[in-house]
């Protein structure tokens, strides 16, 4: 377990900071938004990110990965949270890759992981079926017919769902609506017959989609993990995703906070810098304290993925809940402390506010994770 970065990780952080701030700043996201970009991210930037190895940070060397682990991934995600960079990094290189890594057969790993690492293949997880995160509550069905599965159902809030090459679909092959048993993960081309994909435009200008499956035929060789036992893969994949998005949220919170502190030192009212007002100083100092607590939680959660996976459920829920709370506090205060200019579209601070709200909903809101943490603690 490590709560400080090593030299390798610090160097990766410097590279990420340098590249993202120059090549993929918030101005790029604004441009994608204003031009109604059909993909929603810049493929050239993504190509460069994969060339630097960012899509293979967590992959074992055997599959062309860097094997830097989650602390390494964390620094890249945190920097991308500062710049709000839209890319398939989270949906494909973290969530998709983890599903293949944890659930895939050796053959699937050999075939898919190097492709994910190079960026030539992008994945998206089609999980949610309602407007709240309920990962066991799956009504999309996968029915066996001769040697194939037939998929029927509809999914919402599929991150990168309209741009990914393949979808990992969580479907019910057995059991009742809320059972964890009876789930199966199926890998399917997004352009398969019977799939209709509707891109949804979210507050953060990032990518998501609603997807309907109508009698989609999936060969049985294209399942990830065992039939009916998808939960044993899905849960750790979600936990990895929760920790990863928490890292991104840390960057989002830090950047919004730091920009606000700069503003407090610059803006003058009543003939003085507004940062000299104790009413604002105490709120800023409180946020600094919350940032410090979240930093420790995040580092521990990232280390836990690699070093103590049996503790991951607890740490992932701790990290997601605490970071949800942090990013909500900080982005709200950032807008408030900027005053009138804070609610203009010209100022970038609003982008952090909007991204925060979407990220908070990804893989469980604060209430979901508090409930899960309490259950894991036995009360």
């Amino acid at each position: 377990m490590a709560l400080v970065l090593n030299e390798e990780q610090r160097s990766l952080q410097d590279t990420a900071k340098d590249f993202l701030s120059k090549q993929a700043s918030i101005a790029s996201l604004r441009k994608l938004r204003d031009e109604h970009d059909p993909i929603g991210y810049d493929p050239d930037i993504w190509k460069q990110m994969t060339e630097m190895g960012w899509a293979s940070v967590i992959l074992p060397e055997a599959y062309g990965g860097l094997e830097f682990g989650f602390l390494g991934l964390g620094v890249v995600l945190e920097e991308s949270g500062r710049t709000l960079t839209a890319s398939p990094l989270f949906a494909s290189a973290v969530v998709g890759a983890s599903a293949v890594l944890l659930g895939g057969s050796e053959q699937q790993k050999q075939a898919l992981l190097p492709e994910i690492a190079s960026g030539d293949l992008t994945l998206a997880l089609a999980l949610e079926e309602s407007h709240h995160h309920k990962p066991k509550h799956i009504q999309t069905t996968a029915k066996m017919q001769s040697n194939n599965f037939v998929l029927n159902g509809s999914k919402v809030f599929v991150l990168d769902g309209h741009s990914a090459d393949k979808l990992i679909v969580v479907a019910r092959s057995n059991g009742a609506a809320s059972d964890s048993a009876g789930l199966t993960l199926l890998l399917v081309d997004r352009n398969s017959k019977g799939i209709s994909c509707h891109r949804t435009i979210m507050a953060d200008s990032r990518n998501a989609a609603n997807i309907i499956f109508e009698n989609v035929i999936v060969p049985s060789r294209d399942i990830l993990g065992a039939v009916d036992e998808g939960w044993s893969v899905l849960e750790p994949v979600l936990d990895r995703g929760r920790v990863a998005i928490a890292a991104e949220m840390m960057g989002c919170a830090l950047e919004a906070f730091e920009r606000t502190v700069v503003y407090l030192k610059d803006r003058e009212q009543f003939g003085v810098k507004i940062g000299s007002f104790q009413a604002l100083q105490h709120r800023a100092a409180h946020m600094q304290s919350e940032l410090e607590l979240c930093r420790s939680v995040l580092m521990q959660a990232l280390s836990t993925v690699d070093d103590a996976p049996e503790q991951l459920p607890l740490l992932a829920s701790l990290a997601k809940a605490r970071l949800n709370t942090l990013v909500k506090l900080v982005t709200n205060e950032a807008v408030q402390m900027h005053g009138g200019i804070g609610v203009t579209d010209d100022l970038e601070i609003g982008f952090f506010l909007k991204r925060a709200r979407v990220a908070m909903q990804v893989f469980g809101d604060t209430g979901f994770h508090k409930d899960r943490y309490a259950a894991l603690c036995g009360y």
């Binding site: 709560l3 940062g275 410090e292 939680v297 508090k370």
Partner: protein, 395 residues
């Protein structure tokens, strides 16, 4: 590294042979030995344990051997600490002498002062009190008025100090006193060592809302203090006090490393005082408060570990600056949560209508209000974070 490993094994052997079994048990406040003229050992084993550790110099492992310290390097001291922790060995001697005054004397003292005070601290002959706050100088400490006038061969001290912890049990007090009233307030303060048996020194305990009186007020009425009791330069006491704060924070953190016994945790109290259904606390509001608290405490604990790791790796962060604020606020939250969980059984004050644990809980709740006031209130901590970490403009 090999030498350090070897040292570790020696320490382990020595502790195995010398630390009595009873001194490896979780402890309460009544098991602590604070030394001093009026100090008594809580048990015969505590005496044996203290004497053995004292003879090794290991009550103050990093102090120089010539004054009776252990002469260990910081790395060796860390090894000793972790070996003690491994077997839950108790801290053999507590006191502000070890934590605060000793390091200050070693840094600022004359040879005579070192000879006089360091031995006495190590041998537990002197128990030290701290005289900083005054009735009119709390958060605004630098406005202190207790004065020491230069009378040629001695200082004449008049005034009062408040919140002197265990002042009625201490032998000496280190005080911040005003030696120049005509300059900027921080620049007219000196650091003076005063024998509490001197004529004109009186102490009276202060009854707190918790029912305890661990703090005292100390009065100085024409007390004659020898010139050689000035620590550091005249009118430079503020810098000595600031340097001392560093030692205070460092060592206060270590007190927590002793294994405390029977402190009721909210999640344990929940099992006893709340109704469960299907493994879940039925009261959704209390369940939510409890999980919020448990998450907060895990975050605080991880931050403690992080500051430790950062220190060992030479990494600087703002984490140590926020610990007093978050830690003491969390303690208050805990006490309020316990009261909420225990309902009317959490507010018993005395008598046989309540279990001792229930009464302790109510008393600790009242005590928890001290934490966010003493040692720099939460508001002062937030000011410090705003100034030192965020470097926000000052008015």
């Amino acid at each position: 590294m090999e030498d350090l490993d070897k040292f570790g094994l020696e320490v382990r052997d020595w502790l195995e042979t010398n630390c009595p079994a009873s001194q490896r048990q979780p402890m309460g406040p009544e098991d602590q030995y604070w030394g001093g003229r009026r100090g008594t050992f809580p048990s015969e084993d505590a005496k044996i344990w203290f004497e053995r550790m004292r003879d090794k110099g290991w009550t103050v492992p990093e102090w120089p051997t010539k004054y009776g310290g252990g002469g260990l390097s910081p790395q060796q001291a860390k090894v000793l600490k972790s070996e003690m922790k491994r077997i839950h060995a108790r801290t053999p001697l507590y006191g502000l002498g070890i934590w605060m005054l000793g390091p200050a004397v070693l840094e600022y003292g004359t040879d005579e002062q070192k000879q006089q005070h360091i031995h006495a601290i190590i041998n537990a002959q002197t128990r030290w009190a701290q005289g900083y706050s005054e009735p009119g100088a709390g958060s605004d400490l630098a406005s202190l008025q207790c004065k020491a006038e230069d009378m040629g061969d001695h200082f004449l001290v008049n005034g009062t100090k408040i919140w002197t912890t265990a002042g009625d049990k201490c032998d000496w007090i280190f005080c911040l006193v005003r030696t120049d009233p005509n300059v900027k307030k921080q620049e007219g303060i000196s650091f003076l060592l005063i024998d509490m048996d001197d004529a004109g020194v009186t102490t009276s305990p202060i009854a707190l809302i918790s029912g305890e009186s661990e703090f005292c007020q100390t009065f100085f009425d024409n007390v004659k203090v020898p010139k050689e009791n000035l620590l550091g330069e005249l009118n430079k006491g503020w810098s000595v006090a600031k340097a001392l704060l560093v030692h205070e924070r460092k060592l206060m953190a270590e007190i927590g490393s002793d294994s405390p016994r029977h402190i009721l945790q909210p999640n344990v109290a929940a099992r006893e005082y709340l109704e469960f259904e299907n493994g879940k606390i039925m009261d959704a509001r209390l369940r939510d408060d409890l999980v919020e608290y448990d998450m907060l405490m895990q975050a605080v604990a991880l931050t403690h570990f992080r500051t430790f790791e950062e220190k060992s790796n030479g990494v600087r962060s703002a984490a140590p600056m926020v610990m007093k604020y978050v830690g003491t606020e969390a303690e208050k939250t805990k006490s309020e949560l316990l009261l909420a969980i225990m309902g009317s059984r959490g507010i018993g004050w005395e008598g046989d209508g309540f279990t001792p644990q229930e009464i302790d809980t109510a008393r600790l709740w009242a005590t928890s209000k001290v934490m966010t006031i003493a040692g720099g209130s939460s508001e002062i901590q937030l000011n410090l974070i705003a100034q030192k970490v965020l470097e926000l403009p000052q008015r």
